[in-house]
Amino acid sequence: MSKQAGSIKINVWINEERLEALEKAGMAQLAEDAFAGMKLLAISTTEEQKDLLLERYPSAKYDSATTRSIELLPKQAKDRLLGLSIEMHSTGPEVLGRFLEEAQS
């Protein structure tokens, strides 16, 4: 992927099923062409949220060198993040905020 400056992100890769869900929510335009014809939905996080997430998912990694994204989150976590993103009509840090709240409860 091209190097991107800016905020920390979680990349949710988009297949047909996920694209359909985004289309139904009127959010398909947020799925950006990312890599060799593949689309992703980028959900922004804060530095603090990133640390909390990495603590909760030790197998996940933060790619600080190239993409500034949190990678290797389990599929179930990505599915839930996408669900919350659609529910909240947002790709901002509030999505991860809700996700972390749910995880605590």
Partner: protein, 420 residues
């Protein structure tokens, strides 16, 4: 058939399984780790030719100081057997004596002890890795060695029996050479891998095939790519071994490589991530498998930012005369949306638009179980990734703590009562 390895030295198998029970009678039995068991196997079959055992002090000194063995043969990585002084006493290990090396409760090899010595671990680490930073995994491994080293020759008395799917890909150096002759390959280019192949890897192998074919005619093909995977110590997040071998193999069985130009095998080796010195070691290793050429890409065998991307290639160039294999130097492949293809950074001028095959991005796509486009990964490779995850990886193509605990072993050994 002549079996000649690195620096023109004969490949000699040190295997003696007849009357194994009798051979070991009365000898002390020393348990060894998986990493040491891998090196015992490699030493015994000649993967490390001309080494016939674990190094003594003089060999380690020459390796670190001069990048050679005492006879002048190019060598880059210390191959050592460590043991605590306490265990040396406990197991009655003495210079001039022999012990039985035991792995997972089974006798494996006879170790003829020629030397017991101490070594400065920091010096060993600094010379091998070019750093003494303990964050480097190789440095960490070296600094964790016990306080004594034992040098001496190895004789395998109990041959490993490889389990599926490894048994389909295991070849000794002599068997490699036989297999390459059978394929009628005059030139063989080695591809070192610990990865599931994406299209960037595939393109690199194809570029290397042309480089290795050199001026040979192409009406009858006599150049091959030997994909030689490294199977050894795994870290959480690595691809599982089974997925690596099976996905590399499916590139050929699905026709992305002709049957006549491609073969997959593996070597047991715990990566040191020694960058330049490990590149030299890989060149030596693949010379012993009968390869004539070896691919070296960007940041070969490196880790983090300990080495510059082309350090390994530069060191290989420096020691070119001592190598029995021709290095094929490659730059990274990337996907270019302008060219609309996977292309090499040495050729494509659309730098600002290039999309690089970051390992973490590919892993992220696979973790999401989102089928990659054909430009990223062959669909057959993706299917094998999912199958391997289900069959061998408890649902994941990546190493987890559970995989490390529950995985099927790569090989097993006969127990004492089953030996001759």
């Amino acid at each position: 058939m002549s079996y000649i390895g690195h620096n023109g030295k004969p490949i000699v198998e040190r295997v003696s399984t007849a009357n194994a029970a009798g051979q070991i009678e009365g000898l002390p039995r020393v348990p060894i780790s998986k990493a040491t068991a891998h090196e015992v196997i490699s030493l015994s079959y000649g993967f490390f030719t001309p080494l016939t055992g674990f190094m003594g002090r003089q060999e380690v000194d020459a390796t670190l100081e001069k990048m050679q063995l005492p006879d002048g043969t190019l060598w880059s990585i210390p191959i050592v057997f460590d043991m605590s002084a306490e265990n040396i006493e406990k197991f009655d290990v003495k210079e001039g004596g022999s012990v039985v090396l035991e792995y997972l409760g089974a006798p494996m090899a006879i170790f003829e002890i020629s030397e017991i010595y101490e070594y400065d671990l920091e010096r060993m680490a600094e010379k091998t890795y070019g750093t003494s930073d303990a964050r480097h995994p190789g440095v960490k491994k070296t600094l964790a060695y016990e306080n004594r080293f034992i040098g001496g020759e190895i004789m395998l008395i109990n041959e490993p029996v490889f389990n599926e799917p490894f048994s389909n890909f295991w070849l000794t150096p002599k068997q490699h050479i036989d297999a390459l002759v059978e394929k009628n390959w005059k030139h063989v280019v080695a591809h070192q891998t610990r990865n599931v192949p994406h299209t960037g890897h595939e393109a690199l192998m194809k570029q290397a095939w042309f480089a290795a074919n050199e001026d040979m005619p192409v009406d009858n093909l006599s150049t091959g790519v030997l994909v030689n995977a490294i199977i050894g110590q795994k870290r959480v997040g690595d691809y599982i071994d089974e997925a690596i071998l099976l996905t590399q193999d499916v590139l050929r069985t699905s026709g992305y490589f002709r049957d006549s130009v491609h073969r997959v095998s593996f070597t047991l080796w715990d990566m040191r991530y020694a960058g330049p010195r490990e590149a030299i070691f890989h060149a030596i290793l693949r010379t012993n498998l009968g390869c004539t050429h070896h691919m070296f890409g960007r940041d070969h065998a490196g880790v983090g930012d300990f080495y510059d991307p082309y350090d390994a290639q530069n060191l290989l160039k420096q020691y070119r005369d001592g190598l029995g294999i021709k290095p094929v130097f490659l730059r990274e492949n990337w996907y270019c949306p302008e060219c609309q293809e996977v292309t090499n950074s040495a050729l494509c001028g659309h730098d600002s638009k290039s999309q690089s095959f970051s390992g973490s991005v590919i892993r992220s796509i696979l973790t999401d179980e989102v089928k990659p486009t054909q430009r990223v990964m062959r669909h057959e490779v993706f299917e094998v990734v999912l199958d391997s995850a289900a069959k061998y990886g408890q649902g994941s193509p990546f190493v987890s703590e559970q995989y490390l605990k529950d995985r099927l072993p790569v090989f097993t050994l006969k127990q004492l009562e089953e030996l001759d």
